[in-house]
Symmetry: C2
Subunit: 244 residues, 2 copies
């Protein structure tokens, strides 16, 4: 039916069409690879490549074995694909770290603006928990920054916009290695951590006060100042490190 030059693309289009038509939706299982191969008259390897793409894009989760859990399941959590895409693009220097950071500021400012302008039905329990956890003095910089990332992500989640959420997750994921690389450039970590804690509380307070302008401004300086201090945007050219 679809004699695309590449067989696996035909499989992908087939699955995409089923997705669009609603025959397949979140929670459903894809047909077994062997069945799909027979149905589309292609080799199993071609089916596998298409499924692999879907998995990389975060659309399906594959599991071995038998029973209801096994097979390729359509998953509804879209953040995974965005993360690997952006991480690899940054790794390949297709995306400049500076551009990623700029995009992060744009998105995050709009997130807090929306949150501040919204009604009182927004749930900040998770965000508050993360801030409390960050108060501990026994955290390593790496642990602290991990919580930091989760705090910012929780704001994105609170906005309810999955697209922005996924993009934020991808952004954070893509520059994670650079953030870790920047830790040593902070002379006094205790002071830095305290500063970040204060800024976080300030952002959350501004949101709760429905002061959109203040929240946006605080987010902007919070992010851009931190990257300026670690000079992360400069060292985009650094090549180091093999993580094995």
């Amino acid at each position: 039916m679809n004699d695309s030059p590449r067989a696996w693309e035909g499989v992908l289009h087939h699955l995409e069409a089923h997705l669009l038509s609603g025959e397949l939706s979140t929670g459903d299982h894809l047909p077994p690879e062997r069945a799909l191969a027979a149905e589309l008259s292609v080799g199993r390897s071609s089916v596998r490549e298409a499924v692999r793409v879907l998995e990389a894009l975060g659309l399906v989760r594959t599991q071995t074995g038998s029973g209801p859990q096994a097979g390729a399941t359509i998953i509804g959590a879209p953040s995974g694909g965005m993360s690997s895409l952006m991480r690899l693009q940054v790794a390949a220097k297709g995306f400049a770290v500076a551009d990623v950071v700029k995009t992060r500021i744009v998105l995050e400012c709009s997130i807090v603006t929306e949150l501040a302008d919204a009604g009182t039905d927004v749930d900040f329990v998770h965000a508050t928990q993360l801030l409390d956890a960050m108060d501990s003095d026994s955290l390593t910089p790496k642990e602290f920054l991990a919580l930091d990332a989760r705090f910012h992500l929780s704001l994105a989640d609170a906005s309810g916009n999955l697209v922005v959420s996924a993009m934020m997750a991808g952004i954070r994921n893509s520059i994670e290695s650079y953030v870790i690389l920047g830790i040593p450039t902070i002379a006094d970590w205790r002071t830095e951590a305290q500063r970040l804690r204060t800024e976080h509380r300030g952002i959350l307070t501004a949101i709760k006060d429905h002061n959109a302008a203040a929240a946006s401004a605080k987010v902007h300086s919070h992010i851009s100042d931190y990257y300026a201090r670690t000079r992360l945007t400069d060292q985009a050219e650094t090549t180091r490190q093999d993580t094995q």
Copy 2:
């Protein structure tokens, strides 16, 4: 070295590490699949699945044959992966069309704001050419909207931020089918086209006048009003939530 449960992930990590370390960069060729398979002690099919993922993510372009053009080449155009990712996520209902449109507004407002605030060194030749092309009365709605998309994309490109550019391309691509679906809901296409033309010129003029606020406002209404008229955001089975 890397006995991940899945062999193809090991290959992906291997390639990612080489990307990060700079051993591989834009324009380079990946080793031949057979060589890579032998080097990593995996089957060729596992290598192929990893390469397929990279191709889907827009990092490499594969080509058959022999010579300098053949093989898997690391490509520097990151828009492809974002497009397929977002298109499929929308198809799978992982992303709601309403959220995609909202995100588009956020990004595009920030784009025109930045363009308006920038110096005069921004090149709008391409954008202007597209606007001129859209003046033709012989265009079908589909053709008109294709030019429309390219106009908005050219603004994103003019900003120079590849991340935002790629996201805009992905956004546009993901809702393309819905945009086409919305054409019949426009009662008088000639009037609609004229309206869009005027709005486009207005946006570009505001940018050139360095009037960031006006440009942003015009973009906001340009996009949100159009989708309101076609009621696209309604027919998307949106994830229920905030009324604003």
